[in-house]
Symmetry: C2
Subunit: 187 residues, 2 copies
DNA sequence: CATAACATACCAATTAGACGGTTTCGTCAA
DNA sequence: TTGACGAAACCGTCTAATTGGTATGTTATG
């Protein structure tokens, strides 16, 4: 009856839209709020349309996770290309990538929160674990020092702190923190 | 009809039992699996009984969160008592507490995973944030160096890595890591 | 016209919680 | 010591709403 599905078909845009809405719901209201009805409703897409793009709820969550990992990979690679020093390069790339993803308003907002929520789903933990393992094996030659490990762990800590939206660290303190972390990767 | 509710009344035990079951469900199957039916069923307690102890699902989750924070506080305090050096004492206490809670099989298992899952609930993030803020203000005199902040962030990172159940760090590597972290708190 | 991109209408199962009942416990008077 | 008696600690059922998913359309696009 509605003219909703008379609109122009734009599968890629709709798919992207659905993922973004799912991400927003997850970060703002938690996993229990990410239902098919809620996602389709908030997207202006029917449930049938949603299930056309993602055959099941799990598929939706996995796709969301994939898109986040993709983003992260791209950001790391970009940061690493701008880094001339091999030693600790991956660790610095990881640090910069996490920092840059933090304040990019484009696309999926609240990256940290979404990732956190997704990691709270046991089914997706394994994939994250695999991702970490792959990287740590790939860069074992340049990023296996104790200090590098500490920097990467601290990066995860920053990521974790960000998701609380806590603004208890001013810009200069943060800058000193990052400077020190980079220094540690070069030891 | 069953004789189940003829058993001896042990409110504290039942309450504790319910929290443990909720924690296990959360860590093993994610938040979406923590339903009133599931918790009451796996506890051998009726739904009525569950709702008697925790008037709503939110109350149950909050109580679970409280019990975890309690544990953490106790572990930190214990670690700090055994530490003679004031400088960086809280940071070391935080580190040791997180490490010790990791491998205590007693009571609520999978502490990290449960905390993670709970933090994925936006309603509970604020409380964690408040907790962090309180501590960082209380120990501003002894634990406000950049390196101390890094150690605490890295501790969060370890906590995060633990919840993936990744065993990709052997005992000696871990020991060196902790040694280095402690060293950083003393600079 | 064939197929992909949607929409609408259902469905069985599950959900949080309300409700009223039953059993035990603490307490205090007789 | 007993024995009411109110309150706390349970139990089991009911329900309205929501859940993930199916089945079957309708429209646009190549």
């Amino acid at each position: 009856m509605s003219t909703a599905h008379h609109r122009k078909k734009q599968p890629l845009f709709v798919r992207r839209q659905l993922l973004e809405v799912a991400a927003r719901l997850a970060s703002e209201k938690g996993m229990t709020a990410v239902t098919l009805d809620a996602v389709s409703g908030a997207s202006g897409v029917s449930k049938g349309g949603l299930l056309h793009h993602f055959p099941s709820k799990n598929m939706l969550l996995e796709a969301l996770f994939d898109s986040l990992i993709e983003r992260l990979d791209a950001a790391i690679e970009e940061a690493m290309r701008a880094d001339p020093l091999p030693h600790g390069r991956f660790t610095r790339g990881y640090l910069h990538a996490c920092l840059s993803l933090r304040d990019q308003p484009q696309g999926t907002k609240d990256w940290a929160q979404v990732t956190m929520v997704l990691l709270s789903e046991p089914q997706l933990r394994q994939r994250w674990h695999d991702w970490v393992r792959e990287r740590s094996e790939e860069y074992v030659g340049t990023d296996s020092s104790v200090d590098a490990a500490i920097v990467r762990l601290a990066t995860d800590g920053i990521w974790l702190a960000d998701l609380l939206g806590s603004q208890d660290m001013d810009e200069s303190a943060r800058h000193r923190l990052v400077e020190r972390l980079i220094e540690l990767t070069q030891l």
